[in-house]
């Protein structure tokens, strides 16, 4: 029989794997990898601030992630190249968060837990947060799937079909911020991008349509979460990085398989 904390960790991991599947695909298709990273890094500032003013951590991270996402999308295309802009914002968020955290007297903040995740310590309340967030995001993506996909392909094509791509991008940004906020506990803010991108990149190799790719990404994510946690339990390795390593293995195997198929 598995210990309770491992069961809770697995349920949390499954929630994050499922929510990360559609979002991870959009991040890959729209080349938003660095954008996701900036949003995740901003979350540290949110954590520090929510500890300072005694706000729930989830709310703080969500607000910081949203703020970062909107700032970056507003500023992009006005002067700085977007990778420069994202580089500035991502590391500014991280640095500011660390500095603000050091000012907090009386609160011992476990930085490692936020940077690399603390999935073995998820509480029942954390599970509620993760799954409510996950279900909300899934419903949102399901509802907006077709318009978001058309907007991703081509903005003019979207307009000509009466879709406003700016609105779809906004919805995607909100969904991404929620995903970041619920995933921090599981993999930590430094590895959220990995969780978004690696399963999607792995599934790309075996997918013929966008929908298959999302399903493939979910499968890779779920198997990675379960296997990674078991591995971590038996070999005493850090759980978040172990999950990422398992999905990396999937990526390597599926990419090699694809290269092999093309070569022959």
């Amino acid at each position: 029989m598995l210990p309770d904390f491992l069961i809770r960790a697995t349920i949390a991991g499954l929630g994050v794997a499922i929510i990360a599947a559609p979002l991870g695909c959009f991040v890959v298709w729209r080349r938003m990898a660095y954008f996701g990273e900036a949003t995740a890094h901003a979350a540290l500032l949110g954590i520090a601030l929510s500890l300072a003013i005694e706000m729930p951590i989830f709310t703080g991270t969500l607000l910081a992630a949203l703020l970062m996402a909107f700032t970056v999308s507003q500023l992009s295309g006005r002067g700085l190249a977007s990778d420069t802009l994202l580089g500035v914002s991502a590391h500014a968020g991280l640095a500011l968060g660390l500095v603000v955290a050091s000012f907090l007297s009386g609160v011992r903040i476990d930085l490692m837990a936020y940077l690399f995740g603390d999935i073995l310590a998820v509480s029942i309340n954390d599970l509620y947060t993760i799954w409510i967030g996950a279900i909300f995001v899934l419903l949102l993506v399901y509802w907006r799937w077709s318009p978001m996909l058309v907007s991703t392909l081509n903005e003019e094509l979207a307009y000509s079909n009466g879709i406003n791509p700016k609105r779809e991008k906004l919805i995607l940004t909100v969904a991404l911020a929620i995903t970041v906020a619920v995933s921090i506990k599981v993999v930590g803010l430094l590895l959220i991008s990995a969780l978004l991108i690696i399963p999607a990149a792995a599934a790309r190799n075996i997918s013929s349509t966008p929908e298959f790719m999302v399903i493939g990404t979910a499968v890779v994510g779920i198997v990675s979460a379960i296997t990674g946690l078991q591995f971590s339990y038996f070999f005493n390795t850090p759980p978040g990085p172990s999950i990422v390593c398992v999905s990396l293995t999937f990526f390597l195997i599926l990419s090699t398989k694809k290269l092999w198929t093309i070569g022959h």
């Binding site: 080349r31 058309v150 094509l157 349509t209």
Partner: protein, 256 residues
């Protein structure tokens, strides 16, 4: 006014009046007034940077006009063929899925759509593996679904060679005659396009001249814009529209 399928149709699909569009301080379109009627083929020609693409973007709602009026028929069904469509390599997309992007088609409808657009047998191909010409035809096939009232095409033949684009325009005309939809297209390939059009609009930030292709071809404004060097190659083929003449002959002939 057009005679199509024995009935007289005179519905205005798109009408602009003194339309002005700016990018920041730059005026890209100035006082554009034009109309597109149902079933009409309208071609917009103009040099690079003349605002052709901005005009199309304004009509489909991607750009907001700064002044003037833009009237689009209510619930106008637009079949849009973009200038370029880069499907990111990371986004898997079969031709069949692409055709189903904004509407639900069954297998047979997809096959028919590809036949009409002249690209049969591509149903299960990946979009990223298509050649330029095949890709363009699939874009056309998608745009033709859902009974569009107007096809809007932005330099749709950019990736095609001379013969390929002549072929493509013939396809457009066939489609227009079959489906009765209007066509609004942008092109710089005057010689191929013009004869197939009912109306040509010469654009260079403002409308320099417009009218029937034969009339525009001899207007001085047109020659100022494109030079007189094109005279010899102008109008590679002249097309007898069967809705204008009684004969149902499609012929191509050289004109001076």
């Amino acid at each position: 006014m057009q005679h199509l399928f024995g009935t007289v149709i005179n519905v205005t699909l798109i009408a602009t009046k003194d339309l002005t569009v700016k990018y920041g301080q730059n005026i890209v379109l100035k006082n554009i007034s034009l109309e597109v009627q149902a079933g009409e083929i309208v071609t917009i020609v103009g040099p690079n940077g003349s605002g052709k693409t901005s005009l199309v973007k304004t009509i489909i709602g991607a750009l907001t006009p700064d002044s003037g009026s833009l009237h689009i028929k209510k619930n106008l069904r637009i079949g849009y063929v973009p200038q370029r469509l880069n499907i990111d390599h990371t986004l898997p997309m079969t031709v069949q899925r692409f055709l189903n992007l904004t509407q639900v088609l069954d297998n047979q409808q997809c096959l028919d759509a590809l036949d009409v657009a002249g690209a049969p047998g591509l149903l299960n191909a990946q979009m990223s593996n298509l050649s330029g010409g095949q890709f363009q035809k699939v874009l056309l096939a998608r745009a033709l679904q859902g009974e569009p009232e107007i096809l809007i095409m932005d330099e749709a033949t950019q990736s095609l060679d001379q013969a390929g684009s002549a072929d493509f325009y013939k396809q457009i005309e066939t489609v227009r005659d079959k489906k009765g939809c209007a066509v609004l297209m942008i092109s710089h390939e005057l010689h191929v396009v013009m004869s197939a059009s009912d109306k040509v609009i010469c654009l260079n930030g403002h409308i320099c001249c417009s009218g029937a292709p034969e009339a525009v071809a001899i207007m001085p404004e047109y020659h100022n814009l494109f030079g007189t060097g094109t005279d010899g190659t102008l109008a590679l083929y002249r097309h007898n529209h069967d809705h204008r003449h009684d004969e149902h002959v499609h012929s191509a002939e050289e004109t001076p």
